[in-house]
Symmetry: C7
Subunit: 236 residues, 7 copies
């Protein structure tokens, strides 16, 4: 277990306590949970967004959406960290998306949806009796010909990216994205970049352990199974 000094220990038991230098330790600890989570990423390409994440496989386990979720027809979310927290946060987001659709009779815009996710996370850092969400998210979607990727962390911080990765291989994968992402990539190039970036993040990654979805202007939310990646020659 990571060591902490005695001074730190006096301010790290509650999400609603500041340390003398203005830090929220419980939020920082929640980020540690994310650093242990599977690598996930999102990137924008010419016609849409790629969301991808690594997963572990176990014999007899049925492949199920676990890290990359469909939220609405043109929106998906990839999560990293405590998987149950991720699923719970995605569920709330789906409901928000439905509420928006019912109220305004049009799909929820990406910035509204991602702000909902971030605000929900922030709320759990300021009110007592709960803990922060131990999860970071990458939301991606298309609307009116525009593809966007947003990322949140347990503090509720929200950023928009062309391409970004989170989780245990997040920094290596992000580095690879920064070096190789280009404006105007086509779908195959984008998938290839996503797959390679995950591989950079987790060296011993088995191509079968990739969850990948395309949110595109043409195909809506579309899961690409590992076999298809192989067929299309897009695995590493």
């Amino acid at each position: 277990m990571q060591m902490t000094n005695p001074q730190q220990q006096q301010y790290d038991r509650g999400a609603t306590i500041f340390s003398p230098d203005g830090r929220l330790f419980q939020v920082e600890y929640a980020k540690e949970a994310v650093k242990k989570g599977a690598t996930a990423l999102g990137l924008v390409y010419e016609e849409g967004v790629i969301l991808a994440a690594t997963r572990s496989t176990q014999h007899l386990r049925v492949r199920n959406p676990e890290k990359v979720f469909k939220v609405d027809d043109h929106i998906g979310i990839a999560t990293s960290g405590l998987v149950a927290d991720g699923r719970s946060l995605v569920d709330e987001t789906r409901q928000e998306a439905q509420r928006y659709l019912m109220t305004y009779d049009e799909p929820i815009p990406m910035n509204v949806l991602s702000k909902f996710v971030a605000d929900r996370c922030q709320h759990f850092t300021q009110y007592g009796g709960v803990r922060p969400f131990g999860v970071s998210t990458i939301a991606g979607g298309v609307k009116d010909g525009d593809a966007k990727v947003y990322q949140t962390d347990p503090s509720g911080t929200l950023n928009q990216w062309k391409a970004v990765a989170i989780g245990k291989g997040g920094s290596e994968a992000t580095e690879h994205l920064e070096e190789n992402w280009e404006s105007g990539m086509d779908e195959d190039a984008a998938i290839k970049l996503a797959v390679n970036s995950l591989h950079e993040g987790e060296e011993d990654l088995d191509p079968k352990n990739i969850e990948l979805a395309i949110v595109s202007m043409e195909d809506d939310f579309d899961v690409i199974p590992p076999e298809e990646l192989e067929e299309r020659g897009l695995g590493f």
Copy 2:
């Protein structure tokens, strides 16, 4: 009692406190309660699902559903861990299944039901004033010719399996399932595998101490008493 170091002890009194390395100790302790529970398993076969669990017998105790519960006509749940928590969680799930039926006029789908169970567990790890459920569950059911098995743990993590086991003999039983489960098994082979897997998990298991139920496309939820297992030559 299992030893813990002093550093750990500062973060393990509440389900809503992260440790500096991002762990939720109370959830991990709840999993310990499951590791002490009776072995339980679920597996998919050609025409349905087998749910089974071991139990202790005591002279004069009446055999009662205790670890394998009927939830709806085509759905059952096996639990391992604190038995009272298991019963309470199953009850809530039954009510949810009824609510769904009332609202949509069709049986609750397996993935909706199992997500309900997992979300309920997750909720008890994030909000103060309660403790996590000290129980893991295996839900199995059939719908539209499709048989499915889902498993949850106290953190609210949810996985779908072809076959899986939990509880004190869970890892040995799972290993046995991994080695022997085959797609397309018939009912007798499936029951035989379930019984043998439990036996692998608990070596001194008395065949009389097996609770076993079939959820099949033909027979709905059907409990097979130990004697019938013996008659059908399916005990070990």
Copy 3:
């Protein structure tokens, strides 16, 4: 006072805290309160159920139902542990029985009633701001020619028995029941067995200190005063 080691003491102040090995100490301590309570038992015989418990007598105290309570026409409950907790739990159960009758226009079935008692106990082990009930119960009843005995403990665990005993003499009394209970006993044999089992549990028991009730298909809930036991030659 029973000794506890320093490690244990860190996890035993709240019903909603797991210890590192997955135990709920407050629930275990509540069971200690039951182990100090008067012996109580329930057993099934040919035509009904016997519920019995020991009591202390004091000069000038009026004999009152104290450990064996009538819940509904054909249902009784014997309790052991904190007497005030027992009375409170029995009251809630009576109200539940009435609610059921009002709603469904038929008497509450034994399994529904006993699950109510167990769920109520479980609830007090999972939610903060309360303590577990310091009481175990044995519910007995007849319906449609069927006699049943259920037992709960402070954790909310629920078991059905042919015959079982709880409280300070509970293990000796249960042992005696296991050796001597037979299917198809008549009323006199059943009462005799109940009385002797209590005597096994508490060696210096005065026959006058026995509370005994019969819940039978013929007579509904019927209290047998110690004198009548003597008249009928059923005391020890």
Copy 4:
């Protein structure tokens, strides 16, 4: 101040915490408050019930009902312990008696009323955020030619007696009652016994410091002032 060992001190700050041997220390401490209270008693005689208690007198203090309260026409309650708690509990009981009368159009039966008092006490030992009542009560009443005396303590335990005493002289007074109470005593004998029992409990008792009330089939609730006791030759 009474000494406690360090082990005990870890479990005695809250009414909702069990000690490792299943005790509720806060309830036991509340009973200590009763042991410091003025002696009070209740006893049944041929035609009714005597309730009596000692009080301190101070020059210029006006004699007011302080320990023996009228609850309804044929019911009274004597209390011992924290006087403000006693008054508060009696008030709630009076309201309950009125509610019963309004609802059923007949006076509240003694057992219903005394169970109300006991349940109220029990409730304050199981729910957080409050403390137990620091008071024991003796309720006495007549109905349909039947005279009854019930006693409660801070745990909510309830007993029916022919005669019983509580408070600082409670055990000596009870002993005196046990030796001298007889079935079928007339009013004068009963008052005489009550007065003498209080005197046994508090040796330096001044006859003027006795509060005594008769709840009889003839006279309803009737306070006997010390002077009248003297006139009737019933002081010691």
Copy 5:
């Protein structure tokens, strides 16, 4: 600061915790606040009640009712202890008096009003999240030709007196009242006694620092300013 022993310190942080010998330390500490308050008294005379209290004067401070308050036409209250607590408690009492008048169309009887004050104090000693009132009160009033004085303390204890004093000079003033109060005193004698008793309680009392009010059958609630006391020759 008054010393406390380490044992005591473990039970004195909350109004809802009993010490091992059944004491409520927070209530006792609240009584200390009263012992530091200005002396106040109440006494009954032939035609009414005198309420009086000492106050400090400061240059430029305007004389305002501060310790002796009018509650209703024929009722007043004098307080001692934390002045803000006193004002708050008196306000609630005034509202209760108005509610009573509205509901029953007659003035609130003295015993009902004073029980309201005492119950309010008791309530704050039994429920968590608040502290006891740091104030004692003396309520005085006349109704139907009857003059009465009641006194409460922070525990909610309630007593009726012919004459009583509280606050820092309370015991000396009460002693003086006990020696000199007589039944049937006229107004001048009563005022004289009140003034002298306050002087006994606070030796360096300046006659100008006396708040005194008469609640009489003739004049309702009537404040007597220090100058008038002097004019009438009733100062010391």
Copy 6:
């Protein structure tokens, strides 16, 4: 930081805990916040009330009402202590004044308004989950030809004065008021006295740093800017 002894430290963390000698430390600490606040004063003169306070100036800061607030046409409040607490308390008071006007169709009397402020402060010292207001107030107003000044502190104590000062220079300023205030002063004399008293409280006070308002029978609430003070020759 001011030193406290270990004994004191055990009773000073909550506004709802009495120390053994009956003190409320959190309230006393809140008064320390006032002692650090800017000096403020209020005084009555022939035709109204002067409210004044010192402020700090910083280059580029816009002069805004900060310590002397208008509450209603004829009422103002000056505060000292935590400025945000002051503003919040004044806002609640303004709303109360409006509610009164709406309900009774006449302006709120000064004693009702100032009791509202004081009660609000008291409330925050008796109920848990909040802290006392770190602010003292001086309310001044005119009604029916009568000018009044009231002062509150964090405990909720309320006093009426001819002239009074609070804050870091409060005692020196009050002393100066006591020596120089005279009944029947005209406006210029009153302003001059106010300005000089603030100067006594804060020796290095720059005349530009004075907030001063007149609440008079003629002009309602009227702020006098520093320049006008200078013009009228009323600065020091």
Copy 7:
């Protein structure tokens, strides 16, 4: 981590606890979070208000409003500190602005809006179960030809300025503003001053990392992208 002395540590865990010298440590710690935030400023010029802040850039991150937000047509807010807290506080403010518009059918005045922000911050320092906002804000807006800038901090203190800066370079930037701000500056001079002041606050600032918005009487809320700053020759 910043060192604190042991005495301080006893009063710094809750926003609702005063230290012995009347400080609220949690609020002070929240201010530390602001001192680590990006530099932000606001200034008034002839025809409106400039709001500006620095930001970090990362490759692939999309430029998004992050520190300078539009609130209403003529009002903006710049924040410094925890970004999630800032976004959350700005959202509440936007809703308040909309409520005002709906209720009064005219835009919310700047002083009402900024008092809302400050009151919200103050509230989170006085009530338990939450933590203070870790954010300071600068609100700027125009109405009826009048331009105003208000600033709040975590305590809820509110000040109006001609020009002010906050965050890690806040004091240097404010100093630069104080030396160079002049009444009647035109837009270009104002932007130039804003840009230079940020540069004073953060020496290694890249001109591309400036967020700048104009709220002017002509153009409403208008974001000036870094490139336009360069084009207009207004970068440093």
